[in-house]
């Protein structure tokens, strides 16, 4: 185990029934960095995140969070430990108010005194949410819902934030805003594991990236380096 690791995954194998979805994935997320997982549909990106957050159990392999083995822990324990997830397709609670959504993000926390401070913190990151605390989550625009999903995840005060396709279905301008906020989060000490199909946007901000293909890591390297890589350019950036 490397000492600067927030998350380390070793040889992860996951099966959905008979389907071998992850075939020995190993990856490493150093503290204070953005690490991206890129790859096509069905490559195993979401499965990797779902396994880390305990929603799927691996058949083989280990997941270490800050040196502690969390393989096989239940999802709520993992949130308590400090890993939060922004699920794919946002999955906010549409009939609950923005405030209720945010408070649910802090559900596993017991220190209610710092709650107010953290609300202030997420409102300073997403000023638009402050004006809409009494509005139902489902009445927000797509971009605002994504911001709510991120803000909600941050309310658990995670040390590792995992984001599943945060740019999905958003206008280019909003994508840029979300990615800008991701970089801002880094400054406040949150380490980020990012899944993206929008490979260019992800690689531009990622310190390190892994390329997944049919359940295996086929390529890895610094984000900027992968942007230049011939194979990545052809396969994921649509360049000839």
């Amino acid at each position: 185990m490397r000492s600067d690791a927030v998350l380390q995954i070793e040889n992860l194998h996951v099966f959905y029934g008979g389907i071998h979805a992850l075939k020995g994935v190993s990856l490493f997320v150093p503290r204070g960095t953005i690490v991206a997982l890129i790859g096509a549909n069905g490559a195993g990106k979401s499965t990797t995140l779902r396994t880390i957050s305990g929603l799927v159990q691996p058949r083989e392999g280990r997941i270490l969070f800050e040196g502690q083995d969390i393989t096989g822990e239940s999802p709520h324990r993992i949130v308590e430990m400090g890993i939060a997830m922004v699920p794919e397709g946002r999955r906010i609670f549409p009939n609950l108010t923005v405030m209720e959504n945010l408070l649910l993000g802090a559900y596993t926390r017991r220190d209610h005194r710092s709650l107010k401070r953290d609300l202030e913190w997420v409102f300073s990151l997403f000023p638009r949410l402050r004006e809409r605390t009494w509005q139902k989550g489902g009445t927000l625009s797509g971009g605002e819902q994504q911001m709510l999903a991120v803000a909600r995840a941050l309310m658990s005060r995670p040390r590792l934030l995992m984001m599943d396709e945060p740019s999905l279905g958003l206008a280019p301008l909003l994508v840029r805003e979300i990615f800008h906020i991701i970089q801002e989060l880094l400054q406040s000490g949150v380490t980020i594991l990012l899944i993206e199909q929008n490979a260019r946007a992800a690689l531009e901000i990622a310190h390190y990236a892994y390329v997944l293909e049919t359940g295996r890591v086929t390529l890895e390297g610094e984000g900027k380096r992968l942007l230049e890589d011939e194979r990545v350019r052809k396969a994921y950036l649509g360049e000839e």
């Binding site: 957050s53 929603l55 239940s74 999802p75 709520h76 993992i78 949130v79 308590e80 939060a84 997830m85 699920p87 999955r91 906010i92 609670f93 549409p94 009939n95 609950l96 209720e100 408070l103 649910l104 993000g105 559900y107 596993t108 009494w134 909600r152 658990s156």
Partner: protein
């Protein structure tokens, strides 16, 4: 959100005030209303207890249970067996004698409250036993299992003759239930469920209804939350059953068939799934409508034509109401809204309540 939030102290004061008004209402009702109207009010309050409890599972947590009739039956039989006087026990069980130790004791009237709690607790215990295997699963398993459980309870009630006296049922249960009991239970059920729903625990229940995967990703322990809601709901259903049998002084398997669940389902759907206000208001409306609609089952004479009464016409009318509401008010009368103290103050004084 029309009005500002009111302070905790003010809320407590208003709660006490509301309770006081309700008790005053009971005093006035007992003094000035006839027995028929009081009977309907009693039924209404029992429906409130059962519907608000049922709504906690189906409306707030979004788990489709079809079992309240079973839990009411368990509570009802428990209270009946505990409260039935010994002489009556010997008289009623003439097919087969009542088993020991039930035949050896009977609660004095002062322990009625204990009997109600025991009835509720036994129902809650069965809710726990049904909930543990089924609430781990996603999808319709809860509905299937609770429906099946309801049928099993009825079959057992018909055949466990040394305990339930079979299809003959138990007669001559002392009529302890009066408006004091039912109004109090209705109030405290609403009070407990409302405070639960407004707590962070209740927020997690609503999150489960909205999106299980997201709730789980927030760190909500799905199984534990669903189970707790289900068990609490079972408790109040059991109490409602206990109140019911000591209101009508008899219990038999036909009292708690699936049609009881269906009635409660109508109430919570018409009121708006997830709305405590909705369940309360429609439970009361339902109790009164059930009586008013006796008219449609009675024989009528128009000119020289005489229509014979058709038993069961009431349910046809309710079904039509349900269909019409589902077309025009798909989310029920109240949707997921609640009538809060803030709203009442706003309506009364037309200005924002100060914190």
């Amino acid at each position: 959100m029309t009005a500002e939030k009111i302070s905790a102290r003010c809320r407590l004061f208003l709660t006490v005030l509301l309770f006081g008004l309700l008790m005053l209402g009971v005093v006035l009702a007992e003094r000035y209303l006839n027995a028929y109207l009081i009977r309907i009010l009693n039924t209404a309050c029992i429906y409130v207890v059962a519907a608000v409890a049922y709504n906690l599972v189906n409306g707030v947590t979004g788990q489709f249970s079809l079992g309240p009739n079973a839990f009411m039956a368990i509570g009802g039989y428990t209270v009946a067996l505990l409260m039935l006087p010994l002489a009556q026990k010997r008289e009623v069980y003439f097919l087969q004698p009542l088993i020991w130790p039930l035949n050896a004791f009977s609660f004095p009237p002062s322990l009625f409250i204990v009997a109600l709690f025991l009835g509720g607790l036994l129902a809650a215990l069965f809710a726990l036993l049904i909930g543990i295997p089924t609430l781990r699963l996603r999808g319709d398993y809860l509905a299937i299992a609770t429906f099946g459980f309801g049928e099993i309870v009825i079959v057992l009630a018909n055949n466990l003759i040394p305990i339930t006296n079979g299809a003959l049922g138990i007669k001559g249960i002392p009529e302890y239930t009066n408006l004091w009991w039912t109004a109090n239970w209705a109030f405290w059920t609403v009070f407990v469920v409302k405070n639960l729903v407004n707590s962070s625990f209740g927020r997690a229940l609503k999150a489960i209804r909205e999106n299980e995967i997201a709730a789980e990703a927030m760190g909500v322990n799905l199984f534990r939350h669903k189970l707790l809601a289900f068990v609490l709901s079972g408790f109040f259903a059991g109490v409602a059953g206990g109140l019911f049998v000591t209101l009508i002084s008899t219990v038999s398997p036909t009292l708690f068939t699936f049609s009881m669940t269906f009635n409660l389902l109508i109430i919570i759907v018409l009121g708006g799934l997830g709305s405590i206000t909705g369940s309360t208001v429609t439970a009361i409306l339902f109790a009164f409508l059930q009586e008013l609609l006796r008219e449609v089952e009675a024989p009528h004479t128009i000119g020289s034509w005489t229509f014979p009464g058709i038993p069961g016409m009431r349910m046809v009318v309710f079904s039509v109401i349900l269909v019409v509401l589902m077309i025009f008010y798909r989310r029920g009368l109240f949707g997921q809204r609640e009538l809060s103290f803030e709203d009442v103050l706003y309506l009364l004084f037309g200005r924002k309540a100060r914190a």
